[in-house]
């Protein structure tokens, strides 16, 4: 079976004080190749944990991840990750960051040069390729991170709030860029975000997670991502169905947050 299967994943963290946190419980889903799934949810519901398990940085206490027919046991170049921030290598130029993956595979410069230059062109950093990372703005750094991930040509791209640290305008531009890259490259993408709006705009599928224990609450199939490919994102947001979905999901997340608050208050 091709694609990415998350099979009955549970994750329990044992705490040093003897207690434990059930971060995920019985999470199962299947992603087909080329699907973009966005995952909003209240803070602490296990989104990062799930992504780390898919990436192979954490082993789940139960269940398994199956990708292209084999079980995931650790990080691999087939699953690329775009972090929120701080994951670029400051000691390398922009170009060396982007070409990191191909270089690690032992490719020679002649082999990857064209692809790296093309990606820098796509993310609009052609002029900055010799610059040091710390000379770039936050938005430019995230574009480098995106290009670095794509240059390695992974099958799945995992993004943990990649746009969380950006201002509203830069964020909107980056959202269009992500949509464009997704359509052009046909990659499978899991995108974690705090912004319900962002999840609606980018997600072909949208997975609302619920906390304590972390689990799948509700799934949506959306068409806004397809609309966004050739329309201005602000136009998409004006769609009546968009507003309806947004209110529904926001309400859901609000209820969960309130439930958590109530539960902690009751516990005290």
């Amino acid at each position: 079976m091709s694609g990415l299967s998350i099979e009955k994943i549970s994750m329990r963290f044992d705490l040093p004080n003897g207690g434990s946190v059930q971060a995920l419980k019985d999470v199962s889903l299947h992603l087909n190749e080329g699907e973009l799934m966005s995952v909003p949810g209240p803070s602490g519901c296990g989104k990062t944990t799930l992504l780390n398990i898919v990436a192979g940085f954490l082993a789940p206490t139960e269940g398994q991840i199956v990708m292209n027919g084999h079980t995931v046991t650790g990080p691999d170049a087939e699953r690329g990750m775009v972090f929120q921030q701080g994951a670029l290598f400051e000691w390398m130029s922009v170009r060396d960051n982007v070409s990191f993956g191909p270089r690690m595979k032992g490719q020679r410069e002649a082999d990857y040069r064209g692809e790296v230059d093309h990606l820098l062109e796509v993310v609009g950093l052609q002029e900055f390729k010799e610059k040091a990372i710390y000379e770039l703005s936050g938005g430019m750094q995230q574009r480098v991170a995106l290009a670095r991930c794509l240059a390695n040509d992974p099958d799945v791209i995992l993004m943990d709030e990649p746009l969380g640290a950006l201002d509203a305008l830069t964020r909107e531009k980056m959202q269009s860029l992500v949509l464009k890259l997704w359509k052009e490259t046909g990659k499978t993408i899991i995108l974690i975000t705090h912004s319900v709006e962002e999840a609606l705009l980018l997600g072909e599928r949208l997975l609302v997670m619920a906390p304590r224990p972390g689990r799948i609450h509700k799934e949506y199939q959306l068409h806004f991502a397809d609309m966004g490919v050739d329309q201005d994102l602000r136009e998409v947001k004006k769609h009546p169905e968009f507003a309806k979905n947004r209110e529904e999901i926001l309400g859901m997340i609000w209820d969960m947050e309130e439930e958590i608050m109530g539960r902690t208050e009751a516990a005290q």
């Binding site: 990436a55 940085f57 650790g74 990080p75 691999d76 170049a77 699953r79 690329g80 990750m81 972090f83 701080g86 994951a87 670029l88 290598f89 400051e90 000691w91 390398m92 990191f100 993956g101 690690m104 595979k105 040091a132 990372i133 710390y134 670095r148 991930c149 390695n152 992974p154």
Partner: protein, 422 residues
């Protein structure tokens, strides 16, 4: 006390003078537009003018209190009394006779010995005397020795310059003072002034001429450059060996539980032991030759470098490691492209500290025992009270230490430009 007050006065005066002179000329840069500067560390820049005036102030103060020829005379603090002086003393015999005698005094600068002037004995049973005293010194004078009726015959000195004096008392004179000891002897004590005696603190120009002398003639069988060069060589070799062992050790401790567990007790124990405390043991084991010094400096640098490398590894942002693995890096590649470059800023900080500690330790070790080296030079000089060489040595040690630090900072800027910028 007085020099400190003068120094504080110089500090305040220089501040207001510079304020006054530069009033109206505003700095035109980014920080000049900041309105909140008090409390904003980045808005505090070292004032070059203050630094230059500070250095000049120290040299002026030094010169003023040593009577330096570099300064015009009116800036000198009052010097010790030199030249001629006289006073009279009155002797009373047991049966009540009194007679006066005059004492002629020659106070000569300490470096130029002179004989007491010839004087005629004069009238009466108390005879005139003459005394030569070096500047900064005083002299107990048995003035009655040439008198016809002296202390042994029951005569006592009862007045100086006509003012009565008793054992323990003193009389001020134009050259200083005359003090009577408990046994009735006069102690002639010319004024010492406010200047420092050359044996405590030589004038700046003396230190510099001595530096020239030693640079051309050498000191104790070795040239100045050999002394300094040996000290530096020991530091460089000791530090290099310490880094060579310490950095891989630190990496191993940052990457492996077993290494961390095995070496943690050793490193944590050795870290607070000052290298100076190891000197006696190292001398017992390895003697006072080059081997011992290098072992000592190796040990001084080793722990610092190991700890720096260890915290450089632990300080790596886990996202960077995850990113590298997801991009297909192997463990060796992670080491080469992520762990090592990421730890370089920490290692440079450690190296700067280690170089400073090594330089201090080598000087201390040479003070204890050495045939050559900067520390040995000042130790030997101090035994012969060659204060000028001691001060010259301290200045050279300071300059070299500063030079090492500047060099390390420069290397850091060139090699790890990303330091503190992520």
């Amino acid at each position: 006390m007085i020099p400190i007050l003068i120094y504080v006065a110089m500090f305040v005066a220089a501040y207001f003078v510079v304020k006054l002179v530069t009033a109206g000329t505003q700095r035109q840069d980014f920080t000049s537009l900041k309105t909140v500067t008090f409390g904003d560390e980045s808005a505090v820049v070292s004032d070059r003018k203050a630094s230059i005036i500070s250095i000049i102030a120290i040299i002026v103060l030094w010169g003023a209190f040593t009577g330096s020829v570099l300064l015009p005379g009116f800036l000198h603090a009052p010097g010790p009394f030199t030249g001629d002086g006289t006073f009279t003393y009155t002797v009373e015999t047991a049966d009540g006779q009194r007679d006066d005698a005059t004492v002629t005094l020659l106070v000569h600068p300490s470096g130029e010995p002179a004989d007491a002037p010839e004087v005629a004995p004069g009238e009466g049973f108390a005879k005139d005397d003459s005394v030569a005293i070096a500047a900064y010194r005083s002299k107990l004078a048995r003035l009655d020795q040439n008198d016809e009726i002296g202390r042994d015959e029951g005569a006592r000195i009862v007045a100086v310059n006509g003012q009565p004096i008793a054992p323990g008392g003193e009389v001020a004179t134009d050259f200083g003072r005359v003090v009577m000891s408990q046994r009735g002897t006069l102690n002639i004590d010319p004024d010492k002034g406010w200047q420092m005696e050359p044996i405590w603190l030589p004038a700046p120009e003396n230190v510099f001429t001595r530096m020239g002398e030693i640079a051309s003639e050498g000191f104790r069988n070795f040239t100045l450059w050999e002394h300094l060069g040996y000290s530096l060589m020991r530091v460089v070799v000791g530090f290099a060996l310490g880094a060579l062992v310490g950095i891989p050790l630190g990496y191993a401790m940052g990457l492996s539980n077993w290494f961390r567990g095995w070496f943690d007790p050793i490193v944590e124990f050795m870290r607070p032991v000052p290298p100076l405390a190891l000197i006696p043991l190292v001398i017992i084991w390895a003697g006072i030759g080059e081997g011992g010094k290098i072992i000592l400096l190796f040990l001084a640098a080793l722990w610092i470098m190991a700890i720096a490398a260890r915290s450089g590894v632990s300080g790596v942002n886990i996202s960077k490691v995850h990113a590298a693995y997801s991009l297909g890096a192997s463990k060796a590649q992670l080491m080469r492209y992520v762990i090592i470059p990421n730890s370089l800023p920490e290692i440079f900080t450690g190296a700067r500290v280690a170089m400073g500690v090594c330089w201090g330790t080598v000087v201390a070790a040479e003070l204890v025992a050495a045939e050559k080296g900067a520390g040995m030079m000042i130790m030997v000089a101090s035994k012969f009270q060659n204060t000028d060489i001691v001060i010259m040595g301290i200045i050279l040690i300071g300059v070299i230490g500063f030079g090492i630090d500047m060099l390390m900072r420069w290397a850091e800027r060139v090699l790890v430009p990303w330091k503190g910028k992520s």
